[in-house]
């Protein structure tokens, strides 16, 4: 062993020893933990609990005293049975887990498409989350911050301030059909914290979404597929278009969650421009072609 090499090795060794043992365990755990959890055949609350357990528990994501923001889809003035909004029980279950992990506050908000009060109320989300102690936030026009993006298409875009100020963010989309985007999952759900004239994002949609979402990736994405809207999305309204799937996907990586979510629809990744572009632009935390997915069947 040459002197230079010895110095190098011993320096590395000292460095390694200076990291406490517990951290090593975390690294080891994180390497063995799945990239995503795909739970099937359960009711909303058990679906959430098992998915989070598979990912190493909520404590892995939420530390004591964290201010947590939940971003479900509350976009439409529709009841839960019509599957246009996230299932209220999923939001409620996550609220409980956040508080159990030590969250100091849990806020719930979405910039709706229909009249906000109607959406918050008729989606059942406001009542369900409030019952578990979450704070329901009414979106106010003056609380957007212009975020510099320096993206391929967009230079900046307004993002809701509460979202940016939260310590941890849980993105809770519902898996459903969407006329233009074909499907709406985790990435598309982040539109709910974007201000401005959102309709204009539809032109060159995939690139614009990547421009914005790369800066606002959530801590965790939980895709609710308890009920899925299979046609006439995203607003729906016809019970015949709703399918009871009783599934849920969770992942620390939004893009990976979406890639797994495509299985629910049977779409190949190549068909879904927005997710494909996100993968191409390196927005995924994991290699989306070799995802380690924990598949749990609750039957």
């Amino acid at each position: 062993m040459k002197r230079r090499e010895f110095l190098k090795t011993s320096a590395l060794g000292t460095l390694a020893m200076s990291i406490p043992l517990s951290r090593w365990q975390v690294f080891a755990e994180e390497n063995s933990l799945p990239h995503a959890a795909f739970v099937t055949n359960g009711d909303p609350e058990p679906l959430v609990q098992h998915a989070m357990q598979a990912l190493g528990g909520m404590e892995r994501f939420i530390q004591k005293g964290d201010k947590v923001l939940l971003k479900p889809n509350i976009g439409w003035d529709r009841t839960p049975e019509l599957a246009a909004n996230t299932n209220p029980e999923v939001v409620a279950a996550l609220t409980t887990l956040c508080f159990a992990a030590g969250a100091s506050e849990v806020k719930v908000l979405d910039r709706t498409c229909n009249e906000p009060q109607r959406c918050y109320r008729n989606s059942g989300i406001a009542d369900a989350a409030e019952a578990r102690g979450a704070e329901i936030v009414q979106v106010r026009n003056n609380r957007y911050t212009d975020m510099p993006l320096n993206g391929k298409v967009l230079k900046s875009w307004p993002i809701y301030r509460d979202y940016l100020e939260a310590d941890k963010v849980i993105n809770i989309p519902i898996a459903k059909h969407h006329g233009m985007a074909k499907v709406t999952l985790g990435l598309k759900n982040l539109m709910g914290v974007m201000g401005g004239r959102r309709g204009s994002l539809h032109v060159n949609f995939a690139q614009k979404m990547a421009d914005i979402t790369q800066h606002i990736m959530p801590t965790l994405t939980v895709i609710d597929a308890y009920r899925m809207l299979m046609a006439n999305g995203p607003s729906g309204g016809n019970p015949d278009d709703v399918r009871l799937v009783r599934a849920l996907i969770a992942s620390p990586c939004t893009v990976s969650a979406d890639v797994v979510g495509l299985e629910l629809f049977g779409h190949p990744l190549a068909d879904i421009e927005q997710i494909k572009v996100a993968v191409e632009r390196g927005l995924a935390l994991y290699d989306t072609e070799h995802l380690n997915v924990a598949r749990i069947d609750l039957t």
Partner: protein
């Protein structure tokens, strides 16, 4: 003595209570509208509603009952409505305190105009016989609600919201200011700031009524108000009388304190029953030493003549007939016909214009939802002014909302169930291919299709391969409307991301049977 004093205070108490009732009814007129007293109840207290509804329909529907009760009490109690209930009157009294209103002595030159209110009423009655219903413009409750909806509430909320937000900029005030702001938003104004068209005209109209106080006290009630005229007509021989005792030194304190100048200076023992609004100021003004004024029921009441000559009656009627002619002489502009989109549940246009009193209660409740209803402008006929009209670029009709149909005091908008509303065709959407992004720019958009609320979407799209100038080809989603599914809710026009004119717009639903179709 004690009674007369408390009568004035009792009147003030009732007056303030009714004023707040009207304010609360107004504030309650918003989503979710789960109320114990329906907001249209207040507006239905108008004594004009029973009369004009009867002329229009030759029937007495239940909606006129509150107004009818006022009318039936009037021969006994006189114009008590004007000073005890009418919120516009309360606004006028409040204005008295703000601007110095001249004393009765100095305002006497106006007295010869007392006939004007009768001429107004008569004109409106004659017009109503011709089925031109313009009385809503002058209905005091309608004026009050219009002023509240379009001027006072938006102004109050604007200043409250803006000042709290400015305070929130001050570092140490941020928390309390946002606390107050949220409190205000949650309890007073959950909806966004209201913005209306016709603000200026309505402000001038209501401002002029309030400014009348500069000419005399209760100028509007003395000389203009058709409801006051009707109630005055009915209380010519009212049974409740003011008696003046022998001990009266004719100090004329009551004459100068009278809101309506209803006590003749040369004979204080008489009351002009047509003008008196039972405010009981006279009793309170009577000097404590004398207290000569008492109030009592008399079964053989004296009678007061209307201040109106035969010539004035004739002139009033002629004026209204000429007005009727003028109103139908304007050139109808067919381009604007498409904009006259009325709320769901509305009667056919001609009938709607006859029934609607332009109180804008539907516009108010719409603000808490889709926010499409606006006071209409004059397009072709003057009678279109301030009718509710859906402006889809400003807001859209919420698919799950039928609240505007629940608050109409005259049922010009019929109460319809949510299911009926969801199938009610207000209008029809059309694409403008010179603007719509996929057509005009060869780019994807489809925001309209995304928002279309009918369970089977009325806006669908088909795939088209567009050849770009670069030589590349692109798969495009081209939107189109399925007319059988479209209910004209206008969310497509509202959400269209284009600046300015939308690439899709809603026109009034075809209304072939309506008499308003000028062209055939």
């Amino acid at each position: 003595m004690k009674i007369s004093l408390s009568m004035q205070n009792l009147r003030k108490l009732v007056q303030i209570a009714f004023f707040f009732l009207f304010i609360i009814l107004f504030l309650n007129a918003r989503y979710p509208y789960e109320v114990s007293i329906e907001s249209d109840f207040g507006l239905r207290l108008s004594p004009l509603i029973p009369v004009f509804t009867f002329i229009e329909t030759l029937s007495i529907p239940p909606l006129v009952i509150p107004g009818l009760i006022i009318l039936l009490l009037t021969p006994f109690l006189g114009r008590f409505f004007c000073s005890w209930i009418c919120p516009l009157g309360t606004c006028l009294d409040a204005t008295d305190h703000l601007i110095k209103t001249p004393r009765n002595k100095h305002a006497q030159l106006w007295e010869k105009w007392r006939f004007l209110k009768f001429a107004n009423l008569l004109a409106l009655l004659v017009l109503a016989l011709f089925s031109v219903n313009l009385w809503g413009y002058l209905d005091p409750l309608s004026i009050f609600n219009r002023m509240l909806t379009v001027i006072l509430y938006p102004l109050a909320t604007l200043f409250t919201e803006k000042s709290l937000l400015v305070l929130a900029e001050v570092p140490f005030l941020e928390t309390p200011a946002y606390y107050l702001f949220d409190l205000f938003k949650d309890n007073i104004m959950p909806e966004g700031q209201a913005h209306y068209q016709q603000v200026l005209l309505i402000a001038v109209f209501s401002g002029a009524i309030l400014a009348g106080e500069k000419l005399s006290r209760r100028f509007w009630c003395r000389y203009v108000c058709p409801a006051g005229a009707l109630l005055g007509f009915m209380s010519q021989s009212r049974f409740y009388e003011r008696l003046v005792g022998e001990e009266c030194p004719a100090c004329n304190m009551c004459v100068s304190e009278c809101k309506m100048d209803a006590i003749p200076g040369d004979n204080v023992s008489k009351t002009n029953k047509v003008e008196c609004i039972e405010c009981f100021n006279c009793g309170a003004a009577c000097p404590p030493k004398t207290k000569a004024i008492t109030y009592r029921w008399r079964w053989k009441p004296y009678h007061t003549e209307l201040d109106m000559s035969r010539r004035q009656i004739l002139a009033g009627m002629l004026g209204s007939v000429a007005g009727f002619g003028l109103l139908s002489l304007g050139l109808p502009n067919r381009n604007h016909e498409r904009q006259m989109i009325r709320p769901p549940g509305s009667l056919a246009e001609a009938e709607f214009q006859d029934k609607c009193i332009r109180c804008l209660e539907c516009v108010r409740i719409c603000e808490s939802n889709g926010g499409c209803l606006q006071p209409d402008a004059i397009h072709s006929s003057m009678t279109q002014l301030w009718l509710p009209a859906a402006q889809m670029r400003a807001g859209y009709c919420e698919y799950n909302c039928n609240l505007c149909t629940e608050v109409c005091p005259t049922d010009a908008i019929q109460p319809i169930s949510l299911e009926e509303k969801q199938n009610w065709v207000m209008g029809q959407a059309y694409f403008r291919e010179d603007l719509c992004i996929p057509f005009a720019r060869d780019e994807d958009c489809i925001v309209c299709e995304e928002h279309c609320p009918t369970p089977d979407k009325a806006i669908k799209f088909e795939m088209k391969t567009a050849l770009l100038p670069s030589g590349e080809s692109r798969e495009l989603m081209m939107p189109y409307v399925v007319p059988e599914l479209c209910i004209g809710c206008g969310i497509c026009e509202f959400k269209c991301p284009l600046i300015g004119k939308a690439g899709v717009f809603v026109t009034k639903a075809p209304d072939e049977t309506s008499e308003m179709t000028y062209y055939s």
